[in-house]
């Protein structure tokens, strides 16, 4: 297998597009902006789903399912929400096709819907319309519900995983009796996302809140986790919104409190999407292909025989099968590739491209010496391990790689947070070093907008753990109480 993969240093964007296709993660479909997620890519997404779903359930959430379609009138009820999504909606207007006079299939003009339906770009409106029937008293609260679903946002410029017209995601929608409880929920889910990103995806993230410009349409506060890709661009990896009573008011959802008084319900929503697949690729992978963290790799260990003739293959296969059985007992996902149609070198390349964390090669010398050749994908290093040690070695190695990948990404991220104190410096860092630029800001949307127009950088977040530090805005010089993180972003 020839990889012919563009080098990151040559063209990072091209490298990404090629890698996603060549590693069999996804491809463009015949439908503008919509992708096909291929089995290998989907297997990674399934592992992500399983972990997230477990985390949601451990924090008391249940799954449910709400309609794909949202009547246009629902959509219009929360003003800032419709402003945010109206420009990129797929709209269903008819419910039938017919064969025209020329024998061609056409939309039947007699089958026009009375009210147009929007293909959900997010489900706050249809869900809060439903919650009205579920909530009467404080005893019905909280409602802690999540949905795994597809959503559609008619983006004009699309890229596999990062920005597609249709994508897969989960959206949590919770209802609470008090503001305090709703804020605690929104913060909790941001922390769940951060835990998932760091401990499963091996991606370090910065927790923070969004500025008004970058807030979700309809939210009072948007909590987020922000990651940094290898090209120095930021990527929003998950958001959790405190929605106040906005949707409860728009859909008239009240509850009787303990004193019997009617109050509006408090809301949150939170989501992560197949976009995370893009973040995973761009954080860890290299010029040889994918590098997958062991915790999310569909195949953690690949075993490749190196042999001449059937007799050697049989002896190696015997050894490989015993090793597989022992590794599987520890819950390690392992595959043995004894295809006779491909050479070992071809297989090495293929599994490197696909990011399989550990490769074990077994040749005649290994058989004679009771050894295995073990290669790790992240560092591309090899060592020879004695048969007696192999199982514990692999088990330890997978843990070590998971940690090392995080540490490496964290070191890169730390090197790429730069404090600046003038706008000249700001621009200089963005151009020559990229990454997060930590700067004072006067807190106004206007200044953020101007900086964005001039530099394409936006405020990625106001970090939750920022220090109080008196300063002056890097752009206007107005007073500021602390630094925020700017970056160019996906």
């Amino acid at each position: 297998m020839s990889k012919n993969l563009t080098k990151r240093a040559e063209d990072y964007s091209k490298w990404y597009n090629e890698l996603v296709v060549k590693a069999d993660l996804a491809e463009n479909s015949g439908v503008r902006g919509c992708m096909v997620i291929k089995p290998y890519g989907y297997a990674i997404w399934e592992k992500m789903q399983a972990e997230l779903d477990r985390m949601f359930k451990e924090t008391g959430h249940q799954n449910a399912y709400f309609p794909l379609f949202i009547p246009k009138s629902y959509f219009s009820k929360e003003a800032s929400h419709v402003d945010g999504f109206a420009k990129e909606c797929a709209v269903v207007t008819h419910y039938r096709l017919k064969t025209g006079e020329d024998g061609k299939i056409e939309v039947d003009p007699d089958a026009k819907l009375e009210e147009e339906l929007i293909v959900r770009p997010t489900s706050e409106t249809i869900i809060w319309d439903t919650y009205r029937g579920w909530i009467q008293s404080y005893r019905d609260l909280p409602i802690l519900v999540n949905q795994w679903a597809n959503v559609v946002r008619w983006e004009m410029r699309t890229r596999l995983f990062l920005r597609t017209a249709e994508f897969l995601w989960q959206e949590g929608h919770t209802a609470h009796a008090t503001q305090t409880e709703a804020i605690a929920e929104a913060e909790q889910m941001m922390n769940v996302y951060a835990d998932f990103a760091e401990n499963f995806m091996a991606i370090p993230v910065i927790k923070g809140v969004k500025s008004a410009n970058e807030r979700f349409a309809g939210a009072i506060e948007t909590y987020c986790i922000e990651a940094l890709m290898q090209d120095g661009k930021a990527l929003q990896a998950g958001t959790s919104h405190f929605l106040g009573q906005n949707f409860a008011k728009a859909f008239d959802v009240k509850f009787a409190n303990q004193e019997g008084k009617q109050e509006y319900v408090w809301a949150t929503s939170w989501g992560v999407s197949t976009r995370l697949m893009g973040a995973l690729v761009m954080t860890h992978s290299d010029d040889n292909g994918l590098v997958l963290p062991p915790n999310l790799a569909p195949i953690q260990v690949i075993i490749v025989p190196i042999y001449k003739g059937d007799e050697q293959l049989a002896a190696i296969s015997e050894e490989a099968k015993q090793l597989m059985a022992r590794l599987r007992k520890l819950g390690i996902s392992v595959k043995y590739d004894d295809r006779t149609t491909h050479k070992p070198g071809w297989k090495f390349n293929e599994y490197e491209l696909k990011g399989v964390p550990v490769r074990i090669a077994i040749g005649p010398n290994d058989l004679a010496n009771g050894t295995f050749e073990v290669a790790r994908r992240d560092t591309l290093t090899k060592e020879t391990i004695l048969s007696a040690d192999i199982v514990s070695h692999i088990s330890d190695l997978l843990e070590e790689m998971q940690k090392d990948m995080f540490t490496k990404a964290l070191a890169y991220r730390e090197e790429h947070i730069t404090e600046v104190n003038s706008f000249e410096e700001f621009k200089e860092v963005l151009e020559n070093k990229a990454g997060f630029v930590s700067a004072h800001w006067d807190g106004t949307p206007e200044t953020e907008e101007k900086i964005k127009d001039l530099t394409k950088a936006t405020i990625r977040c106001i970090p939750l753990d920022r220090k109080e530090e008196a300063g002056s805005c890097v752009f206007t010089g107005a007073p500021s109480k602390g630094r925020v993180l700017f970056a160019r972003a996906y």
Copy 2:
């Protein structure tokens, strides 16, 4: 909790509609024909999904994801396919909303799609358009892919789970080098479905093939599993289609065989949907509510304390918690309901309504005697079990209930297959006894159509295990080689 559930004998259809809502399985949404699947209903669906997904993977299939939208032109390429689905399609024609002059949100007429997009009613066309890029040689075959997705069919008369405009399903789409292999795949998946229906849902099914009238639009042969509901109506519980080379020809998908010759690829597709939830409810439930087979019950055992005062509650809770821990060790899903806001009688009713298979009550006498009161949901019988025996008893009981529910449903089904030899008898059985009517048929679509017009009964299947038996068609008197099963169906 007052159930106020209509009795099955009074109005079976009303009983079903009420039960689905009252047991918190699903409800109608504000979008015509689209349902909300509530957390309790979704938890059952998740258990179904998990088992089916495991079975698919064990038979070599992988999951993937294809676009929600299908360009109208794709849809038109397979003639009988478009005939089958054109009349019930949701069509996306625009991609933007705007605020009109009156301040109202409206569809932006300037954002009309060049080609309309159909919301998938099934995905053969978009998938075979994709497979063209995946298949060059026999080495690329077979492709064994499944997708979990939502689909939309614009049904005019809808009922929760049984017939909804949007529903959730899985659709397998496989590609093969030979006809023999594709037929074997279609048969295998029918058998997987039958295994699932019988061993997890406790629903006996008849395996067969559909007559031409009832075949999937675009299939050469449709294999099916047919179940019988308690009102004597049949329900198609799953279908598996041998598609021949129809879609390969429509989308020009060829492969080079071992001799290097180009051939069209052979196809299958197979699916089950949230319709199975309806079958589950209608097969087992009774006038007190749901009856769930232990293998699919989100909560298998509910423990309810019966007490006066905090001291008794504390002692019972101690006992209950120990029991929970012991049951959970065996993988049994158990919940302890110690809410002080509701009385035991209310709780008994609620868990009966929700079909929890086993209820354990613990009162002061039980504490004194070292016993538990165990009630089973399917038979509504109770017995007193010694503490020493409780864990093994519950474990055995769950297995026994799973078997008993199947046996009971099977006995009902067997009593409701009636052989008839005249059309008078045919109509008489349909009217007074219902169920499957086993009759000779001349094999023509015309006769089936006429019988349907006169009786509303269709051929549910030609059973795979039917005996050869010379006879004459119950309607035309023309010769027939064996009996087929007619029924009125959901």
